[in-house]
């Protein structure tokens, strides 16, 4: 959109806005429209020259420019014919509806019902566009979220039942919950864990139960800012995996530091590398995580560098095979 088209679109919202907010400050109007105070003044100077056709003094929009430039207060009148803003554009409608649906996915209780009814009214206002976008957040069961939020609000220490994935184990950590966050489509709880005396992040989806401890939470300062990249810590040890096409999906699922696609002739010695094989460097979140990744992908991982990094996975595979042999007296 050109600058003047942008300005016209804004002016058509500004005129009704200033009429429903008589005497509002230039600063406040600037904040609301995400423009500079100087731009608000420029906009007012344009509006000053606008009005009903005819151009007689009584036909023009009245703006008290002295008050705007002097005291920084805006008084606009004689613009009854622009008392309501334009309809939502399809882009505005879709953006707003998606944002609200995302909030609705994590809300609980009365907030959730207010969101649902507000969304229903908005969807009536907007056209067919709002059904052309769907959004889902993995935020776990509503009761869990509610229990965690209640504990945060009341400043209570709680005991979680948590299905940890990295170590593949259900644990029952006692935590002081601080904040719920949603990133990359999933909800997380940031909490101070009493046992290791450290900040921990729990995926809400894997919180199976929340129990109160009857103890108040203590203060531990602010949790560390997690930022956008969670597990891409370059200080973590790294491994380079040569992946068969069946395992290439992990490069989209897990953070990778770099990915290289091989053509047929760049085969790894001792392995036939079909076209579509990929080499990827991954930060290793933990030894257990890497072991379970290698076990899960099986023949999908053709090689790993350094080779020693495969040892825990190989050991676990051997242990699993022995266990099977002990149970069934065979290897298959």
């Amino acid at each position: 959109m050109s600058t003047s088209a942008e300005q016209v679109a804004r002016l058509l919202s500004l005129v009704p806005y200033l009429q429903t907010h008589p005497g509002i400050t230039v600063a406040e109007a600037a904040r609301n429209f995400d423009i500079t105070p100087a731009q608000v003044i420029r906009d007012l100077k344009v509006l000053w020259m606008c009005g009903l056709p005819g151009g007689l003094p009584g036909d023009l929009i009245e703006v008290d420019m002295d008050a705007a430039e002097g005291e920084g207060r805006i008084l606009l009148s004689n613009a009854d014919y622009l008392s309501r803003p334009m309809r939502f554009s399809p882009d505005e409608a879709m953006s707003l509806v998606v944002a609200l649906r995302a909030v609705a996915e994590v809300a609980t209780g009365p907030e959730a019902s207010a969101l649902t009814s507000a969304l229903a009214k908005l969807e009536e206002l907007t056209g067919d566009e709002s059904r052309r976008v769907a959004i889902a957040v993995d935020a776990g069961a509503a009761e869990m979220r509610q229990a965690v939020r209640d504990a945060i609000a009341a400043g209570e220490r709680i005991q979680l039942t948590y299905d940890g994935v990295a170590r593949g184990e259900t644990t029952r950590p006692v935590v002081d919950p601080v904040r719920i966050e949603v990133r990359d489509g999933a909800g997380y709880l940031q909490a101070w864990s009493v046992e290791p005396q450290a900040w921990r992040t729990f995926k809400l989806e894997r919180v199976v139960a929340v129990e109160s401890t009857g103890v108040s939470a203590s203060h531990h300062g602010e949790p560390p800012v997690t930022g956008g990249a969670w597990f891409t810590d370059r200080d973590n040890p790294q491994v380079r995996l040569t992946l068969a096409p069946s395992a290439v999906w992990i490069t989209e699922y897990y953070p990778v530091l770099d990915v290289e696609t091989h053509s047929g002739d760049q085969s790894v010695p001792g392995h036939s590398t079909a076209t579509g094989a990929v080499s990827a460097t991954l930060p290793v979140a933990s030894v257990d995580w890497l072991a379970s990744l290698l076990l899960r992908l099986g023949a999908g991982v053709r090689a790993i560098d350094p080779a020693e990094a495969a040892r825990p996975a190989v050991q676990q595979a051997r242990d699993a095979l022995s266990l099977n042999a002990a149970l069934f007296g065979d290897h298959g």
Binding site: T3, Y17, A114, S117, A136, E252, A326
Partner: protein, 324 residues
């Protein structure tokens, strides 16, 4: 001259909005400040451009004549009912809820559009409080380079072309909807070359999508929800008996229910048996293998054999680099 142009277009809007009748072009030229000093040719060009600008903003300019019986001159007007935001009546709780939308988008253009929409609500006296539900605000991101173009094309219903995955083939797609799932954006649409529904993961799109067709160039089917089902996990179609060590392997245990061990099996110390539904086409074998010696398939035999084969493959793929 930008201010003068804005002035002229706002005046044109007010003029067309305030008229119940269709206004002939010549009349518009007389009354709208900024037109009457122009030469005939300049007026024609300017008026056409201004109309295009307004339509581009979504201002509905109607063309018609005031008298259907006489061959009256064609004129223009903006119907107030089409132009204005219809009356909305939000409860105080709903207004608070609306404020939570303000900071959700982490993608610049969608964030700006949301702010504009909230600005229009403020203009009609609905004052969403951005701070009230601050604790609730999820972040919606869109890091995929293709996102912006596909979002716009979905809104305007314009056919697009792009390269997908490893192939150099240009895919031609009529976008139907965009979907955010597990932090990734997808595009659902009709692949016009194959004449079939297709779901595209935006992170796998290798070229910036280009618009190939006119806006509004096709219809979007009604049953979108049904057609998005390919993103849902495949429903289970089989059941396994799995022995799991204590609190380990939670993803396997949560999917199932406790069960009795078969008679012929002597469970190792600390293991319990779970009956777990799974999808044969899914990655249940990988899930079991990932648990290592914490999960053992008891039944069915076919599943157990696939697990053993994969475990053997892991051992074989990584020969010990150090001689024992």
């Amino acid at each position: 001259m930008a201010p003068r142009k804005s002035e002229r277009i706002v005046n044109l809007t007010i003029c067309l909005l305030s008229s119940r009748r269709y206004l002939p072009k010549e009349r518009i030229r007389e009354v709208v400040e900024g037109y009457h000093d122009l030469t005939d040719g300049a007026f024609e060009r300017t008026f056409e451009r201004d109309k295009d600008d307004l339509r581009g903003m979504g201002v509905p300019i109607e063309m018609g004549s005031n008298d259907k019986f006489f061959d009256d001159e064609i004129g223009y007007r903006i119907r107030r009912a089409d132009f204005e935001l219809p009356p909305v009546d939000f409860t105080p709780d709903e207004v608070t809820a609306l404020g939570a939308a303000a900071r959700v988008w982490q993608q610049a253009s969608a964030a700006r559009q949301t702010a504009k929409a909230l600005g229009k609500l403020r203009a009609v006296g609905v004052e969403p409080d951005v701070e009230r539900l601050a604790a609730l605000q999820p972040a919606v991101t869109a890091r995929e380079p293709a996102f912006d173009a596909l979002w716009q094309a979905t809104i305007s219903r314009s056919e697009v072309a792009f390269r997908y995955r490893g192939s150099d083939e240009m895919r031609h797609v009529e976008p139907w909807s965009v979907i955010w799932r597990k932090g990734s954006w997808y595009l659902l649409g009709r692949d016009t070359d194959r004449d079939q529904d297709r779901m595209f993961k935006m992170s796998r799109i290798r070229s910036l999508p280009t618009v190939e067709g006119e806006p509004g160039g096709y219809r979007v089917p009604d049953n979108l929800a049904e057609r998005q089902a390919s993103l849902e996990p495949v429903p289970p179609d089989a059941e396994a008996l799995v022995a799991v060590r204590g609190d380990r392997a939670p993803t396997i245990r949560r999917a199932g229910a406790p069960a009795d061990p078969p008679h012929h099996v002597q469970l190792p110390e600390g293991f319990a048996v779970w009956r777990v539904p799974y999808a044969r086409s899914g990655d249940f074998v990988g899930q079991i293998c990932a648990a290592g010696p914490d999960a053992v398939v008891l039944e069915p035999r076919e599943l157990r054999e696939r697990v053993l084969a994969q475990l053997i493959a892991v051992v074989a793929a990584h020969p010990d680099p150090r001689p024992a």
